[in-house]
């Protein structure tokens, strides 16, 4: 890989750190800067040690005589290696490669002879942060070069971390699309609002998923589910089950058969044998007057009309993947003329609350929050965002678990 040549030396500072002020900052705050001098000549090593004593009085300086010896001491507490390129056990710039291989985050400054500056440039191309010419060394040049190398290495490290974080966000976004698809809704009198917030301040996807499909015959079928645990395996499993659910529903299978097949898939696709899934499924008839609620170990949905209340909360359907020969009971619900049904995953009701966040929010207080925002006239996305935001405020910040909320609404036909 081509490496752009770095600017020679550090920024033009008149007094880099003050020869006696010691390092301002190093990669390990609160500890002394660690410098490893790799030099086979005792006289040269002594000279460098004296220069460091003057230029970086707080530094912890250690010495190695060969590249092999130095590599064995890494990473230790070493921030910067000062590497002589004329060591008996290395040739050319291979010492740089070996040290970087031993400690990828360490800064390397090479020291060359006066007639060998080109080797210094090659060392920088190989990954060293800087090079110095041996007979031009003084404490100022040495200090500035080491501090600069450490800062530069640290900047490279942050850039790499940033890159990885961005890549992870991209992965998360890709997975989110698989977990949280575009619902298939045909009629204008049926609304769906959804929100999904990954847990752990957006860093980690869980396996929450949802989907909604309106079939050609007018039936509206909705699911929300939650794979136990958090992480990429759980998210992938959630995405698999979600698309299986959609395929089975589009193919017109009845609810019990859909759930039995989804469970079968869970048992064969899961990453460890006690992973389980809870879910809530709704089947709403074409006239939009009756809904069937099916729960598999999942918290009950909330019906919003004149008031807000839990429905089907006495259903005891087994969670999926653990109990053999499961059957999932359904409850039939008579819908009011205009209705909304809120489905959610347990992240919503398990946030913290109360003084010092010592309590858990729980179902009853969550219902109070939903009821209050519903009565204030909030609908659709505004309503669910207001609810989730208030739950987060009570929690004292972003929730640790991921949360999915779906709000379906409709009216009699």
């Amino acid at each position: 890989m081509a490496v752009a040549a770095p600017p020679r030396r550090g920024p033009p500072v008149t007094n880099p750190t003050g020869p006696r002020s010691g390092p301002r900052s190093g990669p390990r705050p609160g500890t002394a800067l660690g410098v490893l001098v790799v030099e086979d000549d005792d006289g040269d090593a002594l000279l460098v040690a004296e220069l460091l004593e003057i230029g970086l009085p707080g530094a912890a300086v250690r010495r190695a005589r060969t590249v092999a010896e130095a590599a064995a001491m890494l990473p230790g507490d070493v921030d910067c290696v000062l590497l002589d390129l004329g060591l008996p056990d290395s040739s050319g710039t291979d010492g740089v490669d070996r040290l970087i291989a031993a400690a990828p985050s360490v800064a390397v400054v090479v020291v060359t002879g006066a007639d060998d500056e080109r080797m210094g440039i090659r060392a920088v191309a190989s990954g060293a942060q800087d090079y110095l010419v041996k007979d031009q060394l003084d404490e100022r040049v040495l200090t500035r070069s080491i501090l600069y190398a450490v800062e530069r290495r640290r900047a490279e490290e942050s850039a790499r971390r940033l890159f990885e974080a961005e890549r992870r966000r991209d992965d998360n976004a890709r997975m989110e699309r698989a977990l949280l698809p575009r619902p298939i809704l045909a009629s204008e009198d049926t609304g769906l609002a959804v929100t999904y917030r990954p847990g752990n301040q957006g860093a980690e996807l869980g396996g929450d998923f949802y989907d909604a499909v309106e079939l050609g015959n007018g039936w509206l079928r909705v699911v929300i589910g939650d794979v136990s645990g958090h992480g990429p395996d759980e998210a992938a499993l959630g995405a698999t089950l979600r698309s299986a659910w959609r395929a089975l529903v589009l193919a017109g299978f009845p609810t019990d058969e859909v759930l039995r097949t989804v469970e079968q898939l869970l048992r064969t696709e899961r990453h460890h044998e006690h992973a389980f899934v809870t879910l809530c499924m709704l089947d709403i008839e074409p006239a939009r007057r009756l809904a069937s609620v099916t729960l598999a170990g999942h918290p009950p949905p909330i019906l919003l009309a004149d008031d807000a209340r839990f429905v089907a909360d006495d259903l005891r359907g087994p969670l999926m993947g653990i109990i053999d020969r499961s059957h999932w009971p359904s409850a039939t619900l008579e819908l009011p003329e205009r209705w909304s049904l809120m489905l959610y995953t347990d992240g919503l009701i398990e946030g913290r609350a109360g003084p010092d966040q010592r309590e858990r929010l729980g179902e009853a207080r969550t219902l109070e929050i939903v009821r209050r925002h519903h009565r204030s006239g909030a609908v659709g996305e505004v309503l669910i965002d207001a609810v989730v935001t208030e739950v987060e405020q009570l929690h004292g910040g972003p929730l640790s678990d991921d949360v999915a909320v779906c709000l379906v609404d409709g009216r009699w036909r």
């Binding site: 939650d226 136990s228 645990g229 958090h230 460890h272 044998e273 006690h274 992973a275 389980f276 809870t278 170990g297 918290p299 005891r316 359907g317 087994p318 969670l319 653990i322 109990i323 347990d346 398990e350 858990r360 729980g362 640790s400 678990d401």
Partner: protein
């Protein structure tokens, strides 16, 4: 958050795990670790009772760890039982029907008797 896990073994070799605090995504890994250790250290047929009297909150991660422990102990030919869940914790086992495969006993003695067989 408050969490404490104590393990004692009675004269019959039955292990009692006493948990105090919240068994959730943050604390459940400690219990998992302990159950893995118990299942393999107890020799054949480990008998384990988990006393939940001090547990005031159980989430799905905690439930997953208990189910994993059950599976692990049974795979070693052993028995695992739960005792003394608070109502809000008991509800988790009821709503998910996990209670059908992992009984929760009202009294510690009943749980001890259950794993002794």
């Amino acid at each position: 958050m408050l969490f404490d896990l104590e393990v004692s073994t009675d004269d019959d070799g039955v292990v009692v795990c006493t948990i105090v605090g919240e068994l959730d995504v943050a604390t459940a890994p400690k219990l998992r670790q302990e159950l893995v250790r118990l299942a393999s250290a107890q020799g054949p047929a480990p008998r384990v009772v988990i006393d939940l009297a001090g547990v005031d909150f159980l989430d799905s991660t905690g439930l997953g760890v208990l189910l994993g422990g059950l599976k692990r102990v049974r795979s070693h030919g052993g028995q695992l039982a739960l005792a003394r869940a608070e109502p809000q914790v008991l509800k988790v086992f009821e709503v998910t029907r996990v209670i059908e495969i992992l009984p929760v006993h009202d009294e510690l003695d009943a749980a001890l008797a259950a794993v002794r067989g």
